[in-house]
Subunit: 339 residues, 3 copies
């Protein structure tokens, strides 16, 4: 039995029981939502709840994923996606703005360009008489915990007939230096047994020492290579990432050689038949669209899993997980996943 | 009995049975919504459905019409109205963006400045495992099918005691060359019998040859004139359009002589007592606001019809038309139209 | 028994019975919303209603307050917050835009930079066949009636055990010259007995003669001072306002001496133990954040009251006040206020 969830700020608080519960909740949810009866039951869970989506750093995908996760549960949403329309032009402090949002809603989902702002918002909430939960939907380069959760779910679910994540070999390719999704996913791996990581990147984009030190502390073996072809046959999962060009200061991303670091019909055959390909999206040239039709391409399903995992997180925050487990036993005919 | 509807891309797929069904559905809907009991029944039809309104080409009127059509049925909406806030800044392709939207919602309504993009989105949907319907809310200069549908409805409804559109004389005035609403409405006329069209425009803004050829192929008679006064007495409907200044390359619109091509209290008397005046709005100087109070001015009602026709389209796409016909018989006291 | 409410344009129409009813309604609402059962009952009152939030003058706080007030009642909202995305780029008049909004929704909430536009919209509605109520959420420097209502509620509620607003001494400090909230609140005072006002401001920001003349006409005594320390001990309420820098033409606001005109732990002790501190927010340096934890600091509660007062206004407009009074007797256990 996992504990309670209030703020979701980083990957630190997620232990194995909580991860397992959130994954199970997500699978049940998807099953319930397959029928119209189930979908109606879900959207009647929180019609009286109100969410604020505060996205001064625009992000269409994450915004839509959260907005629709709220809608699945009937939660009404308010949004700020354009910092220019905000009252901050009147010189209000971040703390006062966040406290104002909390006056009107029951949960705040936020994405900021600056690192640490979600943690700061959570600390503020813990000081005021009517705190609401803060969900970090990405703050600066450092943390994007709900992305890590949906990645964990996608791995766990894809390997559901093969023992889950435990014991798997996971390759991560691309801009590992600056990609927060791979960094967060590495942190999550401490919760699983027998995982082996292979970092596939050219030297300028290699995984940073802090993550490697963290893996070493937790006894998680990893290797590094600049040769995709050598790594491919060993992988259970290949997690591909795009170049983080938005952090370029002098066009660094232009040095990436996609001939060496991309997946395409020409090298797909080197991947095991039951391996999977993931990507947090949006993608650049690192995955050829011709790969989309391969049954191992899991990134579109991963994207959709993101919405369902966020529904699960909201349910857990509002302490409705038991309602799902009982709903699931009523309306859920055990069956295969929808596409 | 009309067939199914999935994507709504252009006016091609709309035959007479489907047009008649959509018009009937719209009239029933309006009747149902007149009572609070009926309005509540409508908004309980699709509370578990989610729509994406993708409007990189801003359009307040069409956006509001669709957004509120969704709300009438309880559908939850997400929106992109400012291209700058979109993840396309990260270089995602149009196809990947559209597929992403489809991951989260059940229907996509889109309006783009480029012609053909709605068709392209529909083709993409037809290739992927979890397609959602695409509704074209205007793409480039070429197609705006839901505007044509609401225009057909307004004509049909206005002439409901006089045999509908069949046999009517319809004048179209203004920038016929570049106005997609008149072009689409002309295409729809192939479904009606005995219609005669009169194009009223100065030469530089005359109807294009492709539409005239299409009318000729379908045996629909039309005449062209630059003299409104001569045409007015013959008309059952005068469809006025604004100058499409947004397509000007060298200020062409400035040559329009509103003294010759506008409707105002001074020439209203030339119009038959049971004729109607339509306009897709927004209007410029081509209709004097003093005309608004004339009972023949139908453009505000036409605008409101737009929302109801879009409700009908959504119902048809979600295959709930039978629910409306049975609801209507329960709650609908046959009566006059609301204003 | 108070009368009906349709448009809410200025503070003129609010007499004592209506103010008392709105305050009572607000208190009942807050009580009902405290339980999940009550919150669900509220959001089932108007799920079939649709609101337009037209905010060409951006205002995060007022927008969120109204948007969430709508959501409390289940009302679906459409928004325009960025004038650049509006169809006004096509040259539509204000009147035509407003009439268009009214075609799709049941109520329009609007905030414009120009004075008088809400009144103009209401006058338009009164001329057309299908009018919808207009709620002024701030127009220019002149009127912001719902702010005045929430201020009245906060005063009345804070003094509920001491006879309400009647007989109280209310200080107003800051940019009284250009602050519409203090101007509107002064106007409301004609409805209360025995109130005394103290205006605390440096000479360049003193209250304008028109308001002083109005107070004189209604026999409401007021004094003016530039010395906060002398006024503080007499006050039951201190209403603090920020500098209206947006109306500066030559940096006038820079002359404000916050050493003389601010509240902070150093001068808090001069305030009576049962006095309250209000502020319409956002705040600048005129209230030290260290004051937030003082039990007399009422501004965060005042902000939250704003949402509930707007729920009450919507209920009154939709004539559902009786439903609240009967709901309240069902689900409301009389109890203390939530924070």
């Amino acid at each position: 039995m996992a504990g309670q969830l209030f703020h979701v700020i980083d990957t630190q608080g997620f232990d194995r029981p909580l991860l397992d519960e959130l994954c199970e909740l997500t699978t049940r949810l998807r099953g319930i939502a397959k029928t119209q009866e189930g979908a109606l039951a879900l959207q009647q869970l929180l019609p009286h709840a109100r969410a604020m989506l505060y996205f001064p750093q625009p992000s269409t995908r994450t915004f839509l994923s959260f907005n629709n996760a709220c809608h699945v549960l009937g939660i009404r949403t308010s949004e700020i996606r354009d910092p220019a329309t905000s009252s901050e032009v009147k010189g209000e402090t971040f703390d006062d703005s966040l406290r104002t949002f909390s006056s009107y809603v029951d949960v705040i989902v936020m994405r900021t360009p600056e690192a640490g702002y979600a943690a700061r918002a959570a600390a503020l909430m813990d000081r005021i008489p009517r705190p609401v939960p803060i969900i970090n939907a990405g703050s600066g380069k450092d943390q994007h915990p709900t992305q890590a959760l949906l990645d964990v779910y996608t791995l766990e679910r894809s390997f559901s007939l093969r023992g889950g994540i435990d014991g798997k070999v996971i390759g991560m390719m691309g801009d590992l230096k600056r990609g927060r999704t791979v960094r967060s996913l590495c942190s999550m791996m401490r919760n699983y047994r027998g995982v082996r990581l292979i970092f596939i990147a050219p030297e300028p984009f290699a995984m940073e020492p802090d993550i490697k030190a963290q893996l070493a502390r937790h006894g998680i073996p990893f290797t590094e290579t600049a040769r995709l072809a050598e790594a491919l046959p060993a992988l259970d999962a290949l997690y591909v990432t795009r170049m983080q060009t938005e952090w370029d200061t002098a066009g660094e991303s232009r040095s990436m050689d996609y001939g060496q670091f991309s997946i395409h019909p020409g090298n797909l055959r080197q991947l095991k038949a039951d391996a999977i390909i993931m990507h947090p999206l949006p993608r650049g040239p690192e995955i050829d669209p011709a790969v989309d039709n391969d049954p191992r391409a899991m990134y579109w399903r991963q994207e959709r899993n993101g919405m369902w995992m966020r529904v699960a997180i909201l349910l857990k925050i509002f302490r409705l997980e038991d309602r799902i487990f009982s709903l699931a036993s009523e309306v859920l005919p055990a069956g295969p996943d929808p596409p």
